[in-house]
Symmetry: C2
DNA sequence: TACGACCTACCTACTGATAGGTAGGTTTAA
DNA sequence: TTAAACCTACCTATCAGTAGGTAGGTCGTA
């Protein structure tokens, strides 16, 4: 098994910590212990915690967008695409052990640099764009019922998904996510 | 104007700080400065930050429940009651400057004592019960359209409201809350 | 009434731990 | 050799909290 480069290991560790404990809830000491280098060495890769948050959000955005593009490319109807995106959010909640980075950062947004607030904003816009696309497709191909306005559906769905993650995280139980999105799921007919 | 007792002033200050910055984002020093006593004196009223969080959640639950009961008592149709509750959540987001305590605490739940996690769970159950009541009324009196299952509607709506707060908080703009709940609003006919 | 005991609510001084970070040096791999 | 990546040693600042004390108020009893 190839050894991961330290910077990536740090990003993985930091993402996991941020999504589990929040931005204010983890420290460089946690990352150092996890990755196996000294706390002070982290500054070589990330000169400040703020800079680390920038890199985290950037990477998260890219990965998530790639996942959405994959869903769009691999699944035929708007309904299945929406269903896959719901699954993506469910998976991101890590069985109630984590939140997606966007949610986690939003709750402590005052601790973050302005650039990251911008990134969070763009992340939400990106997800809403994909959701709007899926709702439009689903409305036209009939795989999502009662689509009044795809753009408004998209915005509401994103809030629903984020709120569902919060509930699951609070209870450390994915069943709370499932219950929150059940009605939405019933509107989807593959 | 009567002088507020110190304990209440501390609770107010702590609630504001927790809902703005998160549990890990504020410290006793912030409260001390706000209330005008020394940091160490806070321990007289709240021996630990964990105990403070217990008191905060208890008070928040009581206040919120009283607000829901008032809505139920003062407004006639299920639709207007639901509409008022949505307004309550919007108001709690403080024009994008705050989150409701439940959301704020959920995001850093690992920093909280187990009892508070229980309290958060009960808070959500309480809100869901009220929402279920409002949806049932709205379904029967015709003031909320397309109510498939009041209990599921309630759960989804709570997640929607919490997610909407996150979006508004992240952007520091209540317009994002409004947009997220727009479709729900359209289902209400006074 | 007066005084002692007790309480409440604050203080100063301090603790040990931890936070993010700096600076200079060493090690490792290409 | 050189640069990246690590190290040690340390910094300032801050954290939640402890310990002992003061001051003013209240209560009970003689």
């Amino acid at each position: 098994m190839p050894t991961m480069d330290t910077k990536t290991a740090l990003l993985n560790s930091a993402e996991h910590a941020a999504r589990t404990l929040g931005f204010d809830g983890f420290s460089y000491a946690d990352l150092a212990e996890d990755v196996g280098i000294r706390k002070a060495s982290i500054h070589h890769h990330f000169p400040s915690k703020a800079k680390l948050s920038v890199a985290l959000m950037q990477r998260y955005h890219q990965n998530f967008e790639a996942n959405c593009a994959a869903i769009s490319g691999n699944h035929g109807t708007g309904g299945t695409q929406l269903s896959q995106l719901i699954k993506l959010y469910r998976a991101a909640s890590g069985n109630g052990k984590q939140l997606c980075l966007c949610v986690s950062f939003s709750a402590s947004r005052d601790s973050l640099p302005p650039g990251v607030i911008e990134q969070i904003s763009m992340f939400r816009e990106m997800v809403i764009a994909w959701l709007t696309d899926f709702f439009e497709k689903g409305s036209m191909d009939g795989s999502i019922s009662n689509v009044a306005d795809p753009a408004l559906e998209a915005v509401a769905t994103l809030s629903l998904l984020e709120g569902a993650q919060l509930a699951a995280r609070s209870e450390e139980n994915p069943r709370f996510f499932d219950e929150a999105v059940k009605l939405l799921g019933m509107r989807i007919t593959a």
